[in-house]
C-alpha cells in the first residue's frame, strides 16, 4: 500500500464522520468521537506496517516523500489527533455550553471531524519536501485551526482568539508566500533538493536568497512559536478550548518543526548562507528561551502558562537547529539533531497530552482555568494529581521522565556545538531558561498538593471516564518508561 493512502484514509474517515454527523440521530452523534478515535487507531496500525521508501508518486516532482522522518511525524500527527478526540470527549460539557442554543448536540459534530482533516494536513506536511506542498498542507492545517480555535462561538475568548489567530496566521502566510516567491525567483525551484543543488552551484546571489530565507523563516517561525513570531500563542492558547490548545501545542508544533527542519537543511549546508542562517537561528533560540521561560513565571492561567511553556519548549528544540550543519553532525556524539528533535517532540506529545487530559477533566469539573483551580487536586483525585505531577515534571525536565531525556539530548547537542563553534551564550540562555522553568512548573505541582484540607474543594469529586482513565495511565506509563528507556522512541528513528 502506498504511503499516501494513509492521508486518503484519514480524509475518508473525516468525510464518514461528517456524513454520520449529518444524517444520523442525535444519540449516535455522540459516538462520533469514538468513531474518530477508533478510525485513527486503525490508520495508526496501517502506518506501523508502512515501510519508508524513496519512491515518489509522480516522477520529477517531489511533492511527497515517505522517509522514516515522514512516517514518524505522521504517527505523531495521528496520535495527537486521537488524543485530542479523547480530550474533546471529556470537554464536551463545556463545549455544549458555549455552542448550542437549544438542541443538545447541534454543532458539536464538526468539532470532532475538523481535527481529522487537520490531521491529514499535518501528515502531508510531514511528507512535504517542496515549497508548494509545504504551503498547501500548511494552509490546510491553518485554516482548519481557524475554525477550531473560534469554535466556541458563544464564548468571547474563543472568538477573540479566533480573530487573532486568523489575522496573525494570515500575516505569517503572507510572509511565507512572499518568501517562497523570492526563493523561486532566485533559484527557479520549489523543490528543496533542487534548491540545495542550486545553492551549492554557486550561481546564486547571496543577498536575495538570504532575504528570501528570512521571510520563509518568519512564516515557519510562526508555526513553531519562535519569538518574536510567537505573539499569537498566549492569547490563542488561552482563548480557545482546551483540546484545541493541546492540538495546537503538540500537532501544529511537531509538523512545523519537521517542515522547518526540512527547509533549513539546504540553507545550513550551503557555504553561501550557512553563517547567516546559524546566526539568525541562534538569535531566535536565545530570545525564544528568554521570553518563553521568563514570561511564564508570572502567569496565573494554566493554559496561558502552558502557552509560554510551549514557546520555551520551542526554544529548547531550536537549540538543535544551528547544529544541523553537516560538518558538526558528523562529529556529534549521541543522537543527531533530527533524532533529538523528533525524540523530544514525541516525548512532548506524551507529556503535554497527559497534562491537558488532566486539565481538561479538571476544568470541565470546576469550570475554571486558573492555576488555583487545581488546588487540592492531590487530595481530590490522587491519580489525576500524580499524572499531572509526572507530566509537569517531564515538562520541567526532571530525570526519569521522557522530558529529561529530550532535554538531555538537546543540551548534549547544544554543548557539543558550543564547544565546536564557541556559541556558549546559547547554552547559558538555555540553562537560565530551564532554571526559570523549575519555578513555573513547580508552581503547578505546589498548587496541587498544597491545601489538601481545603473544605470547598473536598466536596468536588472528580469523575474520570474509563477511556480517559485508560489513556491517562497509558500516557503516564509512556512518560516514565520512555524516561528510563529512551530507545523505545529512538529505536524508531535509527
Amino acid at each position: 500500500m502506498p504511503a499516501y493512502y494513509l492521508e486518503i484514509l484519514i480524509l475518508l474517515l473525516g468525510f464518514t464522520m461528517l456524513g454520520v454527523e449529518a444524517f444520523s440521530s442525535n444519540r449516535s452523534r455522540s459516538r462520533i468521537a469514538v468513531l474518530g478515535v477508533s478510525g485513527l487507531f486503525v490508520v495508526l496500525i496501517f502506518l506501523i506496517f508502512t515501510v519508508p521508501s524513496s519512491e515518489v508518486p509522480y516522477d520529477h516532482w517531489g511533492i511527497y516523500h515517505v522517509d522514516k522522518w515522514a512516517l514518524f511525524y505522521k504517527a505523531i500527527a495521528i496520535l495527537t489527533t486521537l488524543l485530542v478526540l479523547v480530550l474533546a470527549k471529556d470537554f464536551s460539557p463545556v463545549l455544549k455550553k458555549y455552542t448550542s442554543q437549544s438542541n443538545e448536540f447541534s454543532g458539536i459534530g464538526e468539532y470532532y471531524c475538523l481535527p481529522i482533516f487537520v490531521c491529514a494536513g499535518l501528515m502531508w506536511m510531514a511528507s512535504a519536501k517542496d515549497l508548494i506542498t509545504i504551503f498547501v498542507s500548511l494552509e490546510l492545517v491553518t485554516i482548519g485551526f481557524y475554525v477550531l480555535v473560534s469554535f466556541m462561538r458563544r464564548n468571547v475568548g474563543s472568538l477573540e482568539a479566533g480573530v487573532k489567530y486568523l489575522v496573525l496566521g494570515a500575516l505569517s502566510t503572507g510572509f511565507l508566500v512572499y518568501g517562497i516567491a523570492w526563493i523561486f525567483g532566485v533559484t527557479g525551484q520549489f523543490e528543496l533538493n533542487e534548491i540545495a543543488n542550486v545553492l551549492n552551484s554557486g550561481k546564486v546571489e547571496r543577498k536575495p536568497i538570504i532575504f528570501a530565507f528570512a521571510l520563509l523563516l518568519v512564516g515557519l517561525g510562526f508555526k513553531v512559536a519562535a519569538v518574536p513570531f510567537h505573539i499569537w500563542v498566549p492569547d490563542v492558547y488561552q482563548g480557545t478550548s482546551m483540546p484545541i490548545t493541546a492540538f495546537l501545542s503538540v500537532g501544529s508544533k511537531a509538523a512545523g518543526f519537521i517542515v522547518l527542519l526540512r527547509v533549513i537543511e539546504p540553507f545550513l549546508n550551503s557555504s553561501l548562507t550557512a553563517s547567516s542562517v546559524i546566526l539568525i537561528l541562534s538569535f531566535l533560540v536565545c530570545v525564544t528561551l528568554l521570553f518563553g521561560n521568563f514570561v511564564a513565571i508570572k502567569q496565573t492561567n494554566v493554559k496561558r502558562l502552558l502557552a509560554y511553556s510551549s514557546i520555551a519548549h520551542a526554544g529548547f528544540l531550536m537549540m538543535a537547529l544551528p547544529a544541523m550543519e553537516s560538518d558538526f553532525q558528523s562529529k556529534l556524539i549521541g543522537p543527531s539533531s533530527m533524532e533529538s528533535i523528533s525524540f523530544y517532540l514525541a516525548g512532548y506529545l506524551l507529556m503535554t497530552m497527559l497534562c491537558f487530559l488532566v486539565l481538561t477533566i479538571v476544568s470541565a469539573a470546576t469550570n475554571g482555568e486558573s492555576i488555583d483551580d487545581l488546588k487540592g487536586l492531590g487530595a481530590r483525585s490522587p491519580l489525576l494529581a500524580f499524572a499531572m505531577l509526572v507530566g509537569i515534571a517531564s515538562l520541567a525536565g526532571i530525570p526519569l521522565t521522557v522530558g529529561f531525556f529530550g532535554k538531555f539530548f538537546l543540551f548534549n547537542i547544544a554543548i557539543q556545538y558550543a564547544v565546536f563553534s564557541g556559541s556558549w551564550y546559547v547554552v547559558s540562555f538555555a540553562v537560565l531558561g530551564a532554571a526559570a522553568g523549575f519555578y513555573y512548573y513547580f508552581k503547578i505541582i505546589r498548587v496541587m498538593y498544597w491545601g489538601g484540607s481545603d473544605q470547598d474543594s473536598d466536596e468536588l469529586t472528580l469523575e474520570v471516564n474509563p477511556l480517559s482513565k485508560a489513556v491517562i495511565i497509558v500516557l503516564l506509563t509512556g512518560v516514565i518508561l520512555c524516561g528510563v528507556f529512551p530507545s523505545l522512541i529512538l529505536g524508531l528513528l535509527q
Partner: protein, 484 residues
C-alpha cells in the same frame, strides 16, 4: 541483584503507599528491609576489600552514547549506602503516623523517594543515572518543605532550594556532557563510570580542556553540597524542613555532590583540579571560616544546625583537595560521620521542636532535668559534631588533616588552608557548646512549658549514636573498604 533490590524497595514501598498501603508501617518495613540488606552488602564488602564493584547488574538502554541502567557497589558507594539506609530507617522511624494536617500518603512517600534517589545515585554504575537518580529527590523535598515545613517563610524556602538545586543540576549536566563527549575513543562514547575512568587515564586530556570541564562539574556538584558561596539555600531549607526530610537531605543527599566529585571529577580530571586548586581552597575556607562565623551568630537552633552542616562540608572539600588517598578516604569517612551526626542533630532538634514552642536559643534553658534523654543524646551529637575523639567525625577530620600534610616538607597552599581550616574546629566548638549550654544547662526557671511530654523514639537515636561511636573507635571498619 541485591543492590537493585535496595534501590527498588523504597520505590515499591512508595508505590504501595500511594495505592493505599498503611503509611508508616510500610515505610518502616521498607526502610528496615533496606537496613538489613545494607548491612549484608557491607559485610560482603568487608570480606572482599571494596576495591572492585560487586553485585553488578546492568542493562544497556542506549547504544551510542552507551547508557547503562545498572547498579553495583564498591567500598565508597557501599559506605554511602550504609549511611543512607541507616538514616532512612531513623528518619522513617521518627516520623509520626500522620502529618500535621492529617494526610498520610505524601508524608511517608516523600522520604522514601528521597532515599531511593540517594541510593540510586550512589549505586549507579552509569554517570547518567548517577545524575538522574539524584534529581528524584527534588520534588519530594519541594513538597515536604513547602507543605510541612516550619516557619512562615517555608514557601519561599522551598522555592529557593528547588531552584538552587535545579540550577546546580543543570550546570552539572553541562559539565557531564562536556566530560563524556571529550572522553571518547574511536567515536564510541559511554557513560559508564568505569569505562570513562579508564579512557580518561589512557587519554590524558589537555590541561586546558580538563580545566574547563572541571569547572562546571565542580560547581555543579559544589552547589549540591552547598559550597560557599552557593550555600544560602541549605541552612534555611534544613531549618524549615520537616524532621525526616532535614535528616535525609542534610545527612544523605548532600553527600551526593561530594561523592560525585570523588567518583567523577577527581579521577577523570586530575589536571583540571590542579588548575583550580587555589580557588577551591579559598572556597572551602569560605565554608569553614566564613560560614562558621555565620553559624556563631545564629539565634535559632535549627538555623544553627543548618549552617553547621554547611560549614562541615568544607572539611570534606579539604579532604578532596588533598589529592591523595588519605585525604579522600578521610573525606568519605567524613561524609559518613557527618551524615549520621547531622541527621542525629536534626532528629533531636525535631524532638525539641515538638516539645517547645520555640527554638530561639535565648528563650530556652536548663532543659536537662525535664528531658534527660534528649539532653544526653544531644550532648553526644554535639560532641560528635565538633569532632571529639571516640566519634567517627574526629577520625575523619584527623585523617583529612593528615592527608593534607602528607609528605609536606614545607607549608604550601594546601597546608596553609588546612591550618586555617583547623580553626574551624574552635569555631564549631563555640557555637555547639553555646547552644548546648543555652538549651540544656543553666537556669531551668525560665518560663518555658513543654508542649508534649510523651516518650521519645529512642531507638533511632541510640542507633545513630552507636554507629558513630563504633566507627569512631574502629574507623578501619569503614576505611578498610576504601581504595588506597
Amino acid at each position: 541483584m541485591i543492590i537493585d533490590l535496595i534501590v527498588l524497595i523504597p520505590i515499591i514501598a512508595a508505590l504501595a503507599i500511594g495505592l493505599g498501603a498503611e503509611g508508616r508501617k510500610t515505610a518502616l518495613g521498607a526502610a528496615g528491609a533496606n537496613l538489613i540488606l545494607g548491612v549484608i552488602v557491607i559485610g560482603e564488602l568487608m570480606r572482599r576489600g571494596g576495591e572492585e564493584l560487586i553485585f553488578e547488574t546492568s542493562t544497556v538502554i542506549l547504544e551510542n552514547p552507551k547508557l547503562t541502567l545498572g547498579f553495583a557497589v564498591d567500598g565508597m558507594s557501599g559506605v554511602l549506602v550504609l549511611l543512607t539506609v541507616i538514616v532512612t530507617f531513623c528518619a522513617v522511624y521518627i516520623s509520626p503516623e500522620k502529618a500535621p494536617d492529617g494526610r498520610v500518603k505524601l508524608y511517608h512517600i516523600s522520604p522514601l523517594l528521597i532515599s531511593a534517589g540517594a541510593l540510586g545515585a550512589f549505586c549507579s554504575t552509569d554517570l547518567f543515572f548517577l545524575f538522574a537518580f539524584h534529581e528524584l529527590a527534588l520534588i519530594p523535598t519541594f513538597l515536604m518543605i513547602g507543605i510541612y515545613g516550619h516557619g512562615r517563610e517555608r514557601l519561599a524556602i522551598a522555592w529557593k532550594i528547588t531552584i538552587y538545586l535545579g540550577v546546580g543540576s543543570l550546570v552539572l549536566l553541562g559539565g557531564l556532557i562536556a566530560l563524556y563527549s571529550n572522553l571518547t575513543s574511536d567515536g564510541f562514547a559511554t557513560f559508564k563510570i568505569a569505562e570513562l575512568t579508564a579512557i580518561a587515564e589512557t587519554m590524558q586530556l589537555d590541561q586546558e580542556v580538563q580545566k574547563w570541564i572541571f569547572l562546571p562539574l565542580f560547581l555543579g556538584f559544589g552547589i549540591l553540597v552547598s559550597l560557599f558561596p552557593f550555600h544560602s539555600w541549605a541552612a534555611p531549607a534544613y531549618a524549615s524542613a520537616p524532621t525526616s526530610v532535614a535528616m535525609l537531605h542534610a545527612g544523605v543527599l548532600k553527600k551526593f555532590g561530594l561523592y560525585g566529585i570523588l567518583r567523577v571529577a577527581m579521577p577523570m580530571l586530575p589536571k583540571g583540579f590542579e588548575a583550580w586548586e587555589g580557588l577551591i581552597l579559598v572556597l572551602l575556607l569560605g565554608n569553614i571560616i566564613y560560614v562558621g562565623l555565620v553559624t556563631i551568630s545564629q539565634r535559632h537552633l535549627d538555623r544553627m544546625l543548618g549552617n553547621s552542616s554547611v560549614m562541615h562540608m568544607g572539611y570534606a572539600f579539604l579532604g578532596i583537595a588533598c589529592v591523595n588517598h588519605i585525604g579522600w578516604n578521610g573525606a568519605v569517612l567524613m561524609m559518613f560521620a557527618h551524615g549520621l551526626s547531622i541527621a542525629l542533630l536534626f532528629a533531636l532538634c525535631g524532638s525539641l521542636r515538638e516539645r517547645l514552642n520555640t527554638l530561639e536559643l535565648s528563650e530556652i534553658g536548663g532543659l536537662t532535668s525535664k528531658v534527660p534523654f534528649l539532653a544526653v543524646s544531644f550532648g553526644f551529637a554535639a560532641f560528635a559534631s565538633i569532632g571529639l575523639p571516640g566519634f567517627a567525625n574526629f577520625a575523619s577530620e584527623v585523617t583529612i588533616l593528615f592527608g593534607a600534610f602528607n609528605g609536606a616538607g614545607e607549608v604550601g597552599n594546601l597546608q596553609k588552608a588546612a591550618i586555617l581550616a583547623l580553626w574551624g574546629v574552635v569555631i564549631s566548638a563555640v557555637y555547639m557548646l553555646r547552644a548546648y549550654r543555652n538549651i540544656f544547662q543553666g537556669d531551668s526557671t525560665r518560663g518555658l512549658t513543654l508542649v508534649r511530654r510523651d516518650s521519645l523514639n529512642k531507638i533511632p537515636i541510640i542507633l545513630m549514636i552507636a554507629v558513630l561511636l563504633l566507627t569512631g573507635f574502629f574507623p578501619n571498619l569503614i576505611l578498610s573498604m576504601l581504595p588506597s
